[in-house]
């Protein structure tokens, strides 16, 4: 396989968990709740997904368990921040650390054990016959297709449906939305838990499909990258894709240069995705600020208290 097609393929594979996690975070943030525990939820999902898949041999069950465990952690965040109006940043950071600890605890007897590949590529008839691009985009596994489909569906739901309107209203002006009959609390609870489910699935994709191993801190900061991608995308679902693919591509260079025999320090390569994302984030943010507003949901991070409504 030549360099370009290999690079694009790995960008998609490594970008998929980022798309899933970032999409979940985007929905949560559009409802007004920032959830900084994406890394923790991904790790819990990765550990749970791996343990269940390893024990049962059923990867679907593994993904379901991963989604539930990520969702459960998110439910704690929602209860604290939506139900009790606690500080979203403290809760998120604490859950991020708690999640990492829980994941290590869940996966402690499974570290380093390999599992077979349970998901095989699903080639889409006709489309996969397109020269060059066909094999790259249309001979992937079902989760990849699902992730891209989820992005498009979320974009449509946000733009065209009543649920999307409720979500945006809860994140922009919760008091007005509440007065207009939008169930702000239910919307926020649902959005946060959705974010947890997605992060859990993203983690399981990483542990059961991509590396097919469990080790402590397996996701190595990708949950935080997902949070950055949401800012990068100005809170718009479709714009998540280029960012995720770019990061996936940078991430994959490490593997590629090794196979190509190019000797670049793995450490320099390993830090490059973070350096580039940091620089890109700064530039994008700066430009958005200059052009008035970055698309930040106006009530992001603020608890909605009905009793203090004016």
């Amino acid at each position: 396989m030549d360099f370009l097609s290999f690079a694009l393929t790995s960008a998609i594979v490594l970008g998929t968990p980022l798309i899933l996690a970032a999409l979940g975070e985007l929905v949560s943030e559009r409802s007004g709740v920032i959830n900084l525990s994406v890394e923790g939820m991904m790790l819990v999902g990765a550990a749970t997904g791996f343990v269940v898949t390893f024990s049962t041999g059923n990867i679907a069950l593994g993904f379901a368990a991963a989604a539930l465990s990520g969702g459960a952690l998110a439910l704690v965040h929602a209860f604290l921040c939506v139900g009790l109006k606690a500080n979203q940043i403290i809760s998120g950071l604490t859950l991020a650390l708690l999640g990492a600890g829980l994941a290590s605890f869940i996966g402690r007897d499974f570290a380093g054990l390999p599992i077979p590949s349970y998901i095989s590529p699903l080639s889409i008839p006709l489309l996969s016959d397109i020269p060059f691009l066909g094999p790259i985009f249309f001979e992937r596994d079902i989760i990849v297709y699902a992730a891209f489909a989820a992005v498009i569906i979320t974009a449509i739901v946000l733009k065209r449906t009543r649920i999307g309107q409720w979500l945006k209203a809860s994140g922009e002006a919760p008091a007005a939305a509440d007065a207009a009959g939008v169930p702000v609390f239910i919307v926020r609870y649902t959005a946060v838990v959705f974010g947890g489910l997605m992060a859990g699935i993203a983690g399981a994709y990483f542990s059961t499909v991509f590396v097919r191993l469990w080790s402590d801190n397996l996701t190595a900061g990708r949950g935080w990258i997902a949070i950055a991608l949401v800012i990068f995308a100005s809170w718009r679902p479709l714009l998540l894709v280029p960012g995720a693919l770019l990061f996936g591509f940078l991430d994959s260079l490490n593997f590629q240069f090794q196979t190509m025999g190019i000797t670049v320090s793995t450490d320099i390569l390993g830090m490059s995705p973070f350096v580039i994302t940091l620089v890109a984030l700064t530039i994008v943010w700066w430009r958005q600020q200059r052009h008035g507003g970055a698309g930040v949901p106006r009530a992001l991070g603020l608890p909605y208290e009905r009793e203090s409504r004016i």
Binding site: T94, L102, F105, G221, I231, M271, F274, W285, R306, E307
Partner: protein
């Protein structure tokens, strides 16, 4: 349509007795939930907790280890807490610690023949500067274009880790141990002394001195007062013509320097070599230390020692074939219950299925289901 028979009512104020009981409630509840986790994984919680206690406070050796480990935790906790005074979230103490130890290592390797005291002071200054500069990378965009410092400080942690790894496997490699994840050793006169013939290093004393100086800076100087005004009410600060941008930069630099100091202590008192795992998650645990210590900087040493004991105890479980991650879980749970308890303390709980009382000030946990 109701899911839970709970009503909440906002309290006007929290009594001081309630506020004092909160940490006790949180720690007890954290341990109870932790016990459930342990029990579910087939371990006797009582045995595990006794083992953790014995390993951290139960013997002279354990106590020494607990105090040595407390030093970096106190400093990273202090670094996070002081930034919080300005409503800044320094999640980058881990990276600043790494850079601090790298800065100190640089001094040790550049002037290896300096006499001990001068070398130690020079290395400590280098650690302070390196930590501060690393924090400034996030502080400057925060001050100038309002770029969220949580994400940037966190990214800098991952970059710092790779940077130290690069140095350790590259320029500062130990020629006698190629391929190992540590640098050549620092010169022998660069090792930090111990206190009065015990095995306890001066690190914990140094960290408590740092807490005292920082407390004085925040509570007793004009600068500290301006920081508290800007942190508490930015509009009042603007009205008083306080320069928020400059305060953001200075407070983050100090925060980074304090974390860098933790790196100096780790290097000179614990590892003796630069290594990528020198930070060992202390930067992240420091966040929890700062949360648990709450508004009081002087509580940080107490919480630091407590968390250090938890970590120390966790490692003793690992020796018995259990996972040391239970200590991380316990830390997270305790802070979570502090948060839960802190919010819950501002409410009065009423249990009732009937929703007859819908007067002002009442809120239902299931609000929205109307």
């Amino acid at each position: 349509m109701k899911l839970l028979p709970i009503y909440l009512q906002r309290r006007a104020a929290i009594s001081s007795r309630r506020a004092a009981l909160l940490p006790i409630f949180a720690i007890a509840t954290g341990f109870i939930v932790g016990a459930v986790v342990l029990w579910f994984s087939g371990v006797s919680p009582l045995d595990a907790y006794l083992e953790m206690f014995n390993a951290s406070f139960g013997s002279a050796q354990g106590l020494t280890a607990t105090f040595i480990r407390a030093a970096p935790l106190i400093l990273t906790g202090l670094a996070v807490a002081i930034a919080l005074r300005m409503q800044l979230w320094n999640i980058g103490a881990e990276g600043q610690l790494l850079l601090g130890s790298a800065g100190a290592t640089f001094v040790f390797f550049t002037w290896p023949n300096l006499p001990g005291p001068i070398l130690l002071v020079a290395a400590a200054v280098a650690a302070l500067i390196a930590g501060a500069l690393w924090a400034l990378i996030a502080a400057i965009p925060r001050a100038t274009i309002d770029l969220n410092e949580i994400i940037t400080t966190l990214f800098l942690n991952y970059i710092a880790l790779r940077l130290v790894s690069f140095l350790v496997y590259g320029p500062w490699q130990d020629p006698g141990a190629i391929g190992f994840a540590y640098s050549k050793p620092i010169p022998p006169q660069g090792a930090m002394g111990t206190i009065w013939g015990t095995d306890l290093t001066s690190g914990v004393v140094l960290s408590i001195v740092c807490v005292a100086i920082t407390w004085w800076g925040i509570e007793r100087t004009r600068w500290g007062f301006s920081v508290k005004i800007l942190g508490g009410n930015p509009r009042a600060g603007a009205y008083l013509r306080l320069n928020a941008k400059r305060r953001i930069i200075s407070i983050m630099a100090i925060s980074g320097a304090i974390a860098g100091m933790a790196g100096f202590i780790q290097l000179t008192a614990v590892t003796g070599r630069l290594q990528p795992d020198i930070a060992a998650g202390y930067g992240y645990t420091g966040i929890l230390v700062a949360f648990l210590a709450g508004r009081s900087l002087l509580m940080i040493p107490v919480v630091g020692i407590f968390f250090s004991a938890l970590i120390q105890g966790g490692y003793s479980l690992q020796a018995q074939g259990l996972s040391s991650s239970i200590s991380t879980v316990l830390q997270g749970l305790i802070v979570l219950f502090i948060l839960l308890g802190g919010v819950a303390a501002t409410y009065r709980f009423r249990w009732s299925w009937t929703s007859s009382n819908s007067s002002s000030g009442m809120v239902n946990l299931n609000s929205g289901a109307r």
